[in-house]
Amino acid sequence: MRFDNPRFQRLARAAAFLLVVLLAGLFLVPLAWMVSTSLKPLNETMSLPARWMPSRIQWHNYRDAIDTMGYFWRYVANTLFVCLMTVLGTTISSALVAYGFSRIEWKGRDRLFLVLLATMMIPFPVVMVPIYGLFKQLAWIGTFKPLWVPAFLAGPFNVFLLRQFFLGLPTDISEAARIDGCSELQIFWHVILPLCKPALLVVALFQFMFSWNDFLGPLLYLTEQKDYTLALGLQSFQSQSGGTAWHHLMAASTLVVLPVLVLFFFTQKSFIEGIAATGGKN
């Protein structure tokens, strides 16, 4: 059989499709298991052989989980606050820094950019202790500040992403704006930013997901239980009352994951466009 045979090509495509579906299914297993467990009675959560379908669906697991957590809505508010501030901070600061690294000429610019990129190679645990010490000096431990203030100082990855996007825009546009009467900041605000919405959206979404899921940061810096974020709050199921209430933990986990999924569902098109654009256009 020849490879350019239409029948062979159809078969090849079907095989590829099947592979993709199988892989997608594989990735969905933990998610499905989480949802299934969240609806089971406690004694079925660890039963062997494993049951995919609960013998009876317990919707009240969700209300129980919320009640058990105690501060659930408080956690939601805390998480939203941190997410909002970090998204705002990262987007604004990274865009500004990326603008400076791409659309303004200055001596040593590209060398400094390399230094910025190099900081990405430093693993977080290396700087964890010194940074903790710094925040302690500032008396920020036990507040939200360590979680959101650094976001206003631009992250190297986001700067890199936006810089690539900015480099793809023609310089003529900035020059036209300069002659039209824009200052550098006005060019940034009126011309460059509106043209970079897809890339900004990618940065915002990445940051939102990171802050929403972040466990280590809140664990390090938050001391009062009522200040916890959702990711940290989930941990409280594990040690309470001896064993772990798996069905409640999974119910709460589902609640935590759900907003991110919904968000991605509605923004995936521009999200993927943004990533594609930052990668290839230049």
Binding site: D172, E175, A177, R178, I179, D180, G181, Q186, V191, P194
Partner: protein
């Protein structure tokens, strides 16, 4: 009143390994109020750089630029009272045509009614009233360039700067926009400086042409003067299509004037009248410049000393209104141009051609400068 003065302007870039690159060298020009000046030259000759220095988009390394009577070296572009049209239009893709035109006025805090009036007037002038609500993406190249023109017009600047504005348009649209810009200049009566590498645009649009090469001005004059009295070999070869025929040779002095003899045993010879300094020119190495329209198929001239020479016809190009004949002598390739009747010469055959010796040019082979009659 807005004249533009450039005095000893230089642009020097820091090159690799500390070597400086001079992009524009000692540029001197006075553009009169309401004048249309065209900078022309091959790419890399510094014409755009000079324009960008006038606009304030490039720093001036040395020298002085003045708009009106004000030195503007350190004035930011927005305060120079200029407007610029770019080759790639440089429209704001996220704004409608109306907003593109209005943007500069909004930044300058004009009243809303005034903005509306100016935008509508400009749109009417350019015939783009129907496009005001569209985005640039939805426009053709010609329409985009009109919007770019409109963005310059609404500002009512003292000086318009054009950086190869027609290069991205197709041939037909280019001719159309060319005449529109000429009309615009007549209507607005403002000072315009126009950069192009297209010699037809240079010849047809400018009150004066500045021919540039390697950062240096070669000649500044009216289009016809530049065409008929090119200052040097470069200008002679650059302007004109088909280009001027250039034949290297040597001069000999005779009582009746100088005689040009092609070098390397070439067959082109002619007697040139009107060079009073014939004695001084004797035995000088020169380049003879003959415009294609000053070569004709000999109407009886004998090949030899005077003005005729024999050549084989290589190619005949007929465009309807005129004919170009590509000819070959033993050592040169030449082009002759004439009206349609010139045509129908048999390809591969030998004919006698005649040089209009009154209209040829002589250039010094060493300095490349034209030798005055």
């Amino acid at each position: 009143m807005a004249k533009v003065s450039l005095r000893n302007v230089c642009k020097i870039y820091a090159g690799e390994r500390g070597k400086d690159v001079t992009a524009v060298d000692d540029f001197n020009l006075e553009v009169a109020d309401r004048e249309f000046v065209v900078f022309v030259g091959p790419s890399g000759c510094g014409k755009s750089t000079t324009l960008r220095m006038i606009a304030g988009l490039e720093e001036i390394s040395r020298g002085e630029v003045a708009i009106g009577d004000r030195r503007v070296n350190d004035v930011p572009p927005k305060d120079r009272d200029i407007a610029m049209v770019f080759q790639n239009y440089a429209l704001y893709p996220h704004m409608s045509v109306y907003d593109n035109l209005a943007f500069g006025l909004k930044l300058r805090k004009y009243a809303r009614a005034e903005i509306k009036k100016r935008v509508t007037d400009a749109a009417q002038l350019l015939g783009i009233e129907d496009l005001l609500q569209r985005r640039p993406k939805a426009l053709s190249g010609g329409q985009r360039q009109r919007v770019a023109l409109g963005r310059a017009i609404v500002r009512q600047p003292k000086v318009f700067l054009f950086d190869e504005p027609l290069s991205n348009l197709d041939a037909k649209m280019r001719v159309q926009m060319r005449t529109e810009i000429i009309k615009l200049h007549q209507r607005l009566q403002s000072t315009m400086i126009y950069v192009t590498h297209d010699q037809v645009e240079a010849m047809t649009m400018g009150d004066r042409i500045v021919v540039m090469k390697d950062g240096l001005i070669q000649q500044i004059d009216t289009p016809l003067n530049v065409y008929h009295h090119p200052a040097n070999l470069f200008v002679a070869g650059f302007l004109g299509s088909p280009p001027m025929n250039l034949v290297g040779g040597r001069l000999a002095a005779t009582p009746g004037g100088v005689i040009f003899k092609e070098k390397d045993g070439g067959t082109i010879q002619c007697r040139l009248a009107g060079y009073p300094q014939a004695e001084a020119l004797a035995d000088k190495e020169v380049v003879l410049g003959i415009r294609p329209e000053h070569l004709s198929v000999g109407a009886g001239a004998e090949p030899g000393m005077d003005r005729g020479f024999q050549a084989i016809v290589d190619v005949v190009e007929q465009t309807g209104a005129e004919t170009s004949i590509y000819l070959q002598t033993r050592s040169s390739f030449l082009i002759a141009r004439g009206d349609a009747n010139l045509g129908n010469r048999d390809i591969g055959h030998r004919f006698t051609f005649e040089i209009d010796t009154e209209k040829v040019h002589l250039f010094d082979a060493v300095t490349t400068r034209r030798i005055e009659r």
